[in-house]
C-alpha cells in the first residue's frame, strides 16, 4: 500500500462523495491500484488511536485497526479467532447491491489437503479451496459436490541468471551459458508444455507464450500463440552451436508448497532438459526457504528457477516493471535472473505514463515481443484455480482466486 500511496502527490476532498487524486504524471493504472485501499471512519480511527499504519516492531503492534473492524462493506465481523474461525454476517445497511443471498459466512482454515476435501464431501462445509488437482476425480465421483476449475491469472515461468559473469551453481566455469540467447532458446524448445499440461496438471493448465494471462490488461492473443514450439532436435542443435554439445550441469531452485504442483513441474522440466544433455540438480524446498534464498535480500542467490506471478494491478505494466525490466530505479525487484534489455525498460517507463490506450498497447506489444524473442524467461502456463463446492451453493470464480461473498448464492 505504501508503494501505491507513494504514487499520489496529494488528495483533495471535493465533497462527501468525491475525492480528487493528484499524481505528478499521468497515471492510467492508479485506478486499478486504489482497489487495495479500504475506507475507514476518521472519527473511529482518531478515537481508537489507529491513525498510523502498524509498525511491526514499534510500540503499536496491537494497533486497534488490526483487530477491530470498521467500514461500510457488505459484511460485518461477528466473531474472529485468528487461525481458527472467522464468522461474518451480512450488513443490512450495505450501500451497494448484493446479487447473492448469504446471511452468515464461516471461514475455517483447514491446512491438511485430505481433511479439507473430506470436510467438503461429508457436508461439513459447502465450499473449499484449494483442492489438489489429483482429487478432482474424487469430487466428481462423490455425491452432492463438484470441483470448480478455471484459469487463474497467475503465470508460472522459469527464469535464468543472465546477470553474473559465472553461474553460482553450474559446472561451467569462467562464463555464463545463460547469457547466450541460443542456450535459453534451447531450454525453451526442450520443454514439452503439452506434456506438463497433460501429465502434471491433469489438463487443467493453460499453456502460455506470454508473461501475462488473458485476464490481464495488455494481453495479446497473437503474441501468446506464437510460443516457441517444442523441438528437441532443434534444441540440441542450438546447444551444440552455442558450444555445449554435451550440455552442462545447473542447479534449479523451486518452491514445493507455493504454486499448484510446483515441485512436480520442476521435476518434469528437469527430465525434459536431460534430453538435451542438461543435468538439472533440483533444489525444491518450502516457500519461506525458497524465497529467502532467491529474492533480492539474499542477492538473487539462484542460477535457474521457477516462479509465479499475478499482476496485482491486473495490468501488463506490473510484470514488465517487476519481472522484466533491468534492475534500476526501483524496477526489476523480482527480476531474479537480471534479464536486462534497455528498450524494454524504456518502454515500461513510457507505458506507466501513457494514457492513450492504443499507443499504450503498441508499446506493451513491443516490449513483450522483444522479451519473447530473446527468451528472457520461459513462460509455462496459467495455473488452474481449483475450488470444490457443494451443489447447494453457486459462486463466481474470480481469476485472482478471491471468493467474493456478495456473489455466493445458497439454493434453498
Amino acid at each position: 500500500m505504501k508503494v501505491v500511496a507513494g504514487l499520489i502527490e496529494k488528495t483533495e476532498v471535493i465533497d462527501d462523495y468525491t475525492i480528487d487524486f493528484h499524481t505528478p504524471n499521468p497515471d492510467p493504472i492508479l485506478v486499478n491500484q486504489l482497489e487495495i485501499f479500504y475506507i475507514m471512519d476518521k472519527e473511529w480511527a482518531e478515537a481508537n488511536g489507529a491513525l498510523e499504519a502498524t509498525n511491526v516492531k514499534g510500540g503499536d503492534e496491537g494497533n486497534f485497526a488490526n483487530l477491530n473492524a470498521n467500514g461500510t462493506g457488505p459484511f460485518m465481523l461477528k466473531e474472529r479467532q485468528s487461525g481458527v474461525k472467522t464468522v461474518l454476517e451480512a450488513n443490512p445497511n450495505y450501500w451497494g447491491s448484493m446479487p447473492g443471498n448469504i446471511s452468515e459466512a464461516v471461514f475455517t482454515p483447514i491446512s491438511q489437503d485430505a481433511t479439507r476435501v473430506a470436510a467438503l464431501i461429508s457436508g461439513d462445509v459447502d465450499m473449499v479451496y484449494p483442492v489438489p488437482v489429483q482429487d478432482w476425480e474424487r469430487l466428481d465421483g462423490a455425491e452432492g459436490v463438484k470441483p470448480l476449475a478455471g484459469p487463474e491469472a497467475r503465470t508460472i515461468f522459469l527464469g535464468f541468471d543472465q546477470d553474473r559473469e559465472e553461474l553460482l551453481y553450474s559446472n561451467i566455469k569462467g562464463n555464463n551459458p545463460f547469457k547466450d540467447q541460443r542456450v535459453r532458446q534451447a531450454f525453451m524448445q526442450a520443454i514439452n508444455i503439452d506434456a506438463i499440461k497433460a501429465k502434471v496438471m491433469r489438463t487443467a493448465s493453460q499453456p502460455t507464450g506470454l508473461m501475462v494471462a488473458p485476464a490481464v490488461n495488455g494481453f495479446n492473443e497473437d503474441l501468446n500463440n506464437s510460443r516457441m514450439a517444442y523441438d528437441v532436435e532443434g534444441a540440441k542443435a542450438l546447444m551444440a552451436e552455442a558450444g555445449y554439445p554435451d550440455g552442462f550441469e545447473v542447479t534449479m531452485d523451486c518452491p514445493n508448497d507455493r504454486y499448484v504442483n510446483d515441485e512436480k513441474i520442476c521435476q518434469a522440466a528437469a527430465s525434459m532438459l536431460a534430453r538435451i544433455g542438461v543435468k538439472v540438480d533440483l533444489l525444491a524446498q518450502t516457500k519461506s526457504k525458497y524465497f529467502g534464498k532467491v529474492l533480492a535480500q539474499n542477492n538473487y542467490d539462484t542460477s535457474f528457477f521457477l516462479l509465479g506471478w499475478t499482476p496485482s494491478t491486473f495490468d501488463a505494466h506490473n510484470p514488465l516493471s517487476a519481472l522484466m525490466s533491468c534492475r534500476v530505479d526501483g524496477m526489476g525487484a523480482f527480476n531474479l535472473g537480471g534479464y536486462c534489455n534497455e528498450r524494454v525498460t524504456e518502454l515500461t517507463k513510457m507505458i506507466q505514463g501513457e494514457t492513450d490506450q492504443g499507443k499504450r498497447q503498441d508499446m506493451i506489444d513491443e516490449a513483450f515481443k522483444i522479451h519473447q524473442d530473446e527468451v528472457g524467461h520461459i513462460p509455462l502456463h496459467q495455473q488452474p484455480l481449483s475450488w470444490g463446492i457443494s451443489e447447494k451453493v453457486s459462486v463466481v470464480q474470480r481469476p485472482d482466486n478471491v471468493l467474493d461473498l456478495r456473489y455466493v448464492t445458497v439454493n434453498k
Binding site: V3, E61, N63, T115, G292, W309
Partner: protein
C-alpha cells in the same frame, strides 16, 4: 528433599536454556519471515527496514540473549503473523490441547490397563489374541494415517462424526471447553482415539508383560497357596505390584501426548497449540515457534519433577539410597 529440589531447579534451568538455544539455532534454517509479512509490491528498502526493525540483522548471540531475557519474564513478544502477543495466543490455544491430551490419556489408561490384565490372565483366549493383533496395528500404523482412515470411515462414508474442528465450545472465564456441548463431544471422539491409540497399546503391552512377570513370583504363588480367591490374587496382589512402572511410564507419556498432539491436531484441524506451531513453521513466525518449544520443554521438566517425587512417595528404597549417600 530441599537439596533435591535445588538440584532439580538447576538442572531444569540448564535444560530450558539448551532447548531454547537449539530451537533458536534452528530458526536460522527455517527461511525468511519477511516475504510472508509483506505484499509482492513492497520495495526492497522497506523489506530491509522491516528486517532491521525485527532485529533479524543482529548477531545471533544478541538475538538469543534478548529472547532468553524476555522469556524469563514470560514475555514472548508479538506473533509476526497474528500481530498479537504470543502469550495471549497460547492462552487461547492451551485449553484445546490440554483437553484433548487429558481425554486421550484417560482413554488410554481406562482401556489399556483392563486389556493388559485380561491378555495376561487369559493368554491363549481368542479375545486376547484379537487384542494383541489390534495392539500391533496401534503400534505400527502412523498417527496421521489412523486419523485420515477414521475421517474417511466415520466422517465421509458413515457421516456420524464431524471431520474437523472442535465444534461448539463453552467459555468459562479464560478457559474454553468442548466437553459441555454435543457437537464438542462428537468432535472430540476421533482426535482423542487417534491420539490415544498408540499410548493405549503401549500401556496394554506394558501391563501385560509386567503382570506375566509378577504372576510368576513367589508371593503370588504363596497367596494362591493360602487359598485366597483368584480375584484377590490378581487384582490386590499382582496388579498392585505391576502399577509402579505403569504409573511412571504413563506420567512421562502424558508429556509426549501433549507434545505429539501436533500431528493429530493438524489432521483434524484441532485448534490447539500443536496446530498453531505447525502454522507458525509455515509462516516462519519465530516468536510463536520459540514460545511453543520452550513451553513444551517446561512441561516435560515439570512432569519429570512430579514423576521423580512420586518415586519418593511410592518406593521407600529410593529414600534409603539417597540417605546412604550413593
Amino acid at each position: 528433599m530441599i537439596g533435591f529440589i535445588t538440584m532439580w531447579l538447576v538442572q531444569s534451568v540448564i535444560v530450558m536454556l539448551t532447548v531454547a538455544l537449539i530451537a533458536f539455532a534452528l530458526f536460522r534454517f527455517v527461511g525468511d519471515p519477511i516475504n510472508n509479512m509483506v505484499g509482492q509490491d513492497t520495495t526492497l528498502e522497506e523489506r530491509a527496514e522491516l528486517r532491521e526493525r525485527l532485529g533479524l540483522n543482529d548477531p545471533f548471540a544478541i538475538q538469543f540473549a534478548r529472547f532468553a531475557a524476555n522469556a524469563a519474564r514470560g514475555e514472548f513478544g508479538f506473533s509476526y503473523q497474528h500481530r498479537r502477543p504470543v502469550s495471549e495466543l497460547i492462552g487461547e490455544r492451551l485449553p484445546a490441547t490440554l483437553e484433548l491430551a487429558l481425554v486421550s490419556a484417560i482413554m488410554a489408561i481406562a482401556i489399556g490397563i483392563p486389556m493388559g490384565v485380561y491378555t495376561a490372565l487369559k493368554r491363549y483366549g481368542v479375545l486376547s489374541r484379537a487384542f494383541m493383533t489390534l495392539s500391533l496395528i496401534g503400534i505400527s500404523l502412523p498417527t496421521f494415517l489412523i486419523g485420515i482412515l477414521l475421517i474417511l470411515f466415520f466422517g465421509v462414508i458413515l457421516r456420524w462424526l464431524p471431520t474437523f474442528g472442535r465444534g461448539e465450545v463453552l467459555e468459562l472465564g479464560w478457559w474454553t471447553t468442548g466437553l459441555a456441548t454435543g457437537s464438542g463431544l462428537r468432535s472430540l471422539i476421533m482426535p482423542a482415539i487417534t491420539l490415544a491409540l498408540f499410548q493405549m497399546t503401549l500401556i496394554m503391552r506394558l501391563v501385560r508383560a509386567e503382570m506375566l512377570e509378577v504372576l510368576r513370583t513367589d508371593f503370588v504363588k504363596f497367596g494362591r497357596a493360602r487359598g485366597l480367591p483368584d480375584r484377590h490374587v490378581h487384582f490386590k496382589i499382582a496388579l498392585k505390584n505391576t502399577l509402579v512402572p505403569v504409573i511412571t511410564i504413563t506420567g512421562l507419556q502424558l508429556g509426549s501426548i501433549i507434545a505429539f498432539a501436533i500431528i493429530t491436531e493438524s489432521v483434524f484441524q484441532w485448534p490447539g497449540m500443536g496446530l498453531m506451531f505447525i502454522q507458525a513453521v509455515g509462516e516462519v513466525d519465530i516468536p510463536v515457534m520459540a514460545a511453543y518449544l520452550v513451553l513444551i520443554a517446561f512441561l516435560f521438566v515439570i512432569i519429570n519433577l512430579v514423576v521423580d517425587m512420586l518415586y519418593f512417595v511410592v518406593d521407600p528404597r529410593l529414600r534409603v539410597d539417597r540417605a546412604g549417600g550413593h
